[in-house]
Symmetry: C2
Subunit: 169 residues, 2 copies
């Protein structure tokens, strides 16, 4: 069976070494807190205004301000800054925390589309940092698609005696 | 609904600030790679020799050497060293990667029992580092118990039309 990171690499086209090239430098020291806040604000402004309702609706139960804070605190922690996210919320636990959301290939691509635009529209992010971050995001998005598929596998086991189609909720 | 970190704090008796006091210092720089290798080797030697078969059997499908490497690479990465774990395996994704295992309160306590003994029997770990690590481990163990319960909640949804007891596999 392919591992999570093998699937992530194959589907994203980004191998693990490129995905984690964010660890070969300190992006937090280079870019600073405000840049990460701006990036996440740009990103979620796009997401919450997305004309594609199927994607926008994934975030409907989360507050925009909270989504922004969760994201930039995680980025700061993961890219060389202090552990803002864990001090407030515990382990990132990326797969576990994405469990409520349908992380499909299509949703991953839409997420990445908005992030690419957000990176372009955020001042003071140099080309090298952009490339490292996009590789990290692309790999991570598909890592979460692979994690989402685990969830579906798990659900099949106890359901083998169920009717094949659950009734609409 | 209580969040993962609220459950982890309540069940472990360790609040988030104490759990992540590992981030107030750099334990990797203080202790060095070999100490983490020794700690994980001591820990898994206990686990794989555990007289309690129910606990030992949780690890039966994993190779001891691999379990040791996964653990010390994660510890090094999380406690101030380089990202050894992610370079090889991707995100730690603690809840996602523990999905195959039954992480019960009882299993958490047995894990912590062995880890406490392993910390005691590993040379060159000062009392302050031991305390920080045990707080981190205790909180994390119960964070994973909380993550495990999410899994069970998830499984109930599509199974509401199934017979109440699935047949033995």
């Amino acid at each position: 069976m392919q591992s999570l990171q093998q699937k992530a690499s194959e589907w994203s086209g980004v191998d693990t070494a490129h995905a984690f090239s964010i660890d070969q430098t300190n992006l937090f020291q280079k870019l600073g807190l405000q840049t990460f806040i701006n990036l996440s604000t740009n990103f979620y402004t796009r997401v919450y205004d997305d004309e594609e309702e199927w994607f926008r609706s994934i975030f409907a139960n989360s507050k925009k301000e909270e989504a922004i804070q969760n994201q930039y605190e995680f980025f700061v922690q993961r890219m060389g800054g202090s552990a803002l996210y864990s001090e407030r919320k515990g382990h990132p636990a990326l797969i576990g925390r994405h469990r409520p959301f349908p992380v499909t290939h299509r949703a991953a691509e839409r997420w990445l589309h908005h992030m690419e635009k957000a990176l372009e529209s955020t001042p003071n992010i140099d080309a090298d940092s952009k490339l490292r971050m996009m590789n990290f995001f692309r790999h991570t998005a598909y890592f979460l698609v692979a994690g989402d598929e685990l969830k579906n596998q798990n659900q099949r086991v106890p359901c083998k005696h169920a009717t094949s189609k659950p009734a609409a909720a």
